[in-house]
């Protein structure tokens, strides 16, 4: 069983890198990460200089965490394609002939997608942090941007872990929905649409629910001060991770059920 899983994952690894869309999505995510992080950091630095007390500091990697809310969509697209492209081309049948145990197919894809997304988060986060520091340490931005090593590592690794979990969640939704359009709709609603609608209702229950959806759970996990809710997500990082894991597990369970029950 284990050797079958590793073989299937090894096959999925090859499949991932043998199509151009993978490279486009990763390049897009990296560019978006740098651009968004620099922009958000510039705004934060400007604000800090304008209203801040003397001695205020902006950590260079802070904006990487905020940028994940946007960058995640480029990576969601990549994770989605790992499964929906097989349904649109009929390649899923070939995959299931090679690996007929449905759970192994999903597990193999997750085993490939998760580390790739983690690496994408860490690398793009590191590059973006360096870019923020290089661009914003100039006096025009008050010289308030700092580069504390421990925090940077934490932020960047957090972004990688968040991307990995959101991508595996997308994989689960993709296996359940099968089509790219359906998957994008559901994932977009989970990540952005639903939490925003819930926030707008203004009720406390809706707010609580919204803050436990993947995007805010991710921000809590990464320790971000969230701008959308006007304050930090009111629970600890560990709980954020727990919510993220729960969403990912639920999506995988849904995907596995559909993969097992429905004809390919």
């Amino acid at each position: 069983m284990t050797s079958t899983l590793w073989r299937a994952a090894w096959a999925e690894w090859g499949k991932l890198w043998s199509v151009r869309s993978t490279w486009w999505c990763l390049a897009g995510a990296a560019a978006l990460m740098v651009l968004t992080a620099v922009t958000l950091a510039a705004a934060a630095a400007t604000d800090a200089v304008r209203d801040g007390a003397p001695g205020v500091r902006v950590t260079a990697s802070e904006s990487v965490v905020s940028a994940t809310s946007f960058v995640q969509f480029a990576l969601v697209a990549l994770a989605m394609l790992a499964i929906t492209a097989e349904y649109s081309s009929g390649g899923i049948r070939v995959t299931l002939l090679a690996t007929p145990v449905r759970g192994l197919v999903l597990a193999a894809k997750a085993l490939v997608v998760a580390p790739v997304m983690f690496a994408a988060g860490v690398l793009s986060g590191a590059v973006a942090t360096a870019a923020v520091y290089l661009v914003l340490q100039a006096d025009a931005f008050g010289g308030v941007v700092v580069l504390p090593f421990g925090e940077v590592v934490r932020d960047v690794a957090g972004a990688g872990a968040f991307f990995a979990l959101v991508s595996v969640m997308t994989l689960g939704v993709g296996a359940a929905m099968r089509s790219a359009a359906g998957t994008l709709t559901v994932v977009f609603m989970l990540l952005l649409g639903l939490p925003l609608v819930l926030l707008m209702t203004g009720s406390q229950a809706a707010l609580d629910a919204s803050l436990r959806m993947p995007t805010f759970a991710g921000l809590a996990f990464m320790g971000s001060v969230d701008n959308l809710t006007g304050g930090p997500v009111p629970y600890p990082a560990g709980e954020g991770l727990a919510w993220l894991l729960a969403w990912t597990a639920a999506a995988l369970a849904a995907g596995y059920t559909v993969l097992r029950r429905r004809d390919a």
């Binding site: 096959a11 097989e86 081309s89 002939l97």
Partner: protein
Amino acid sequence: MISLDGLTKRYGDRTAVDDLSLELRPGTVTGFLGPNGAGKSTTMRLVLGLDRPSAGTALIGGLPYHRIRNPLRTVGALLDARAPHPGRSGRAHLTALARSNGIPVRRVAEVLESVGMAGAAGRRAGALSLGMNQRLGIAAALLGDPEVLLFDEPVNGLDPDGVRWVRQLMRSLAAEGRTVFVSSHLMSEMQLTADHLVVIGKGRLIADAPLAEVIGRSSLTAVLARTPHAGELAERLRAAGIAAERVAENEVVATGAPVERVGDLAHEAGIRLHGLRAREASLEQAYQELTESSVEYGTTGAGA
């Protein structure tokens, strides 16, 4: 090697495959025939574990497909000519399949060579012609050097050379002792390729017999005798239990008996023959008779 037992697949109230039981033997090419929508592709998908049967079982070497370890090394299948992923090259596609089943990667180059695609191995599958994609699909089926092969319409999109190549490939795979199960619409091609036929209509088994027997059972397979004593010969044959009819002044058509027996009976009766020959129905004719009757069964609701 492939055995179906009461295999049934229902989609809502439509029955696509209806209580199909049969056994496919190694060393033969079994042709799988039936009108469009008869359930051929569904049957193949059920055998391959892609669809779940509503009832019954489909086993390969005694195991359901999903229980076979490294299935590509036991079963090779070509299901449709669509590109596996339009953006992926044939080589990358086959390499992934080889990795997933622990097949040595050098097999990829071997099978690409054997299907005549060595030169196009690096091209994106989406840029390949239908025939080239078909060859790529056949390469994937052969990759694990499997004992059992299923081909759904393998000659779709192939040029005449390709069609001949597929025919020779099927024959040589069976000659090596493998179980080969091929569906096709091309009767003339099947007549040249298959040893054994399985015919289904509306999901039900109509025939499961050697090719020669299916053709022999056709009313168009007959013995034609030319004789000045046509009336007498026809009577003699009928007396011997052979369906015979005088179709012209000096011609009798007998069905259900070999040419030797008709000749011997004429000789015993002292009837002069001016000509005696066997006429064989084509598979297309035999098939048409079979499936026409299946349509009748279907409309009257009687069992096949």
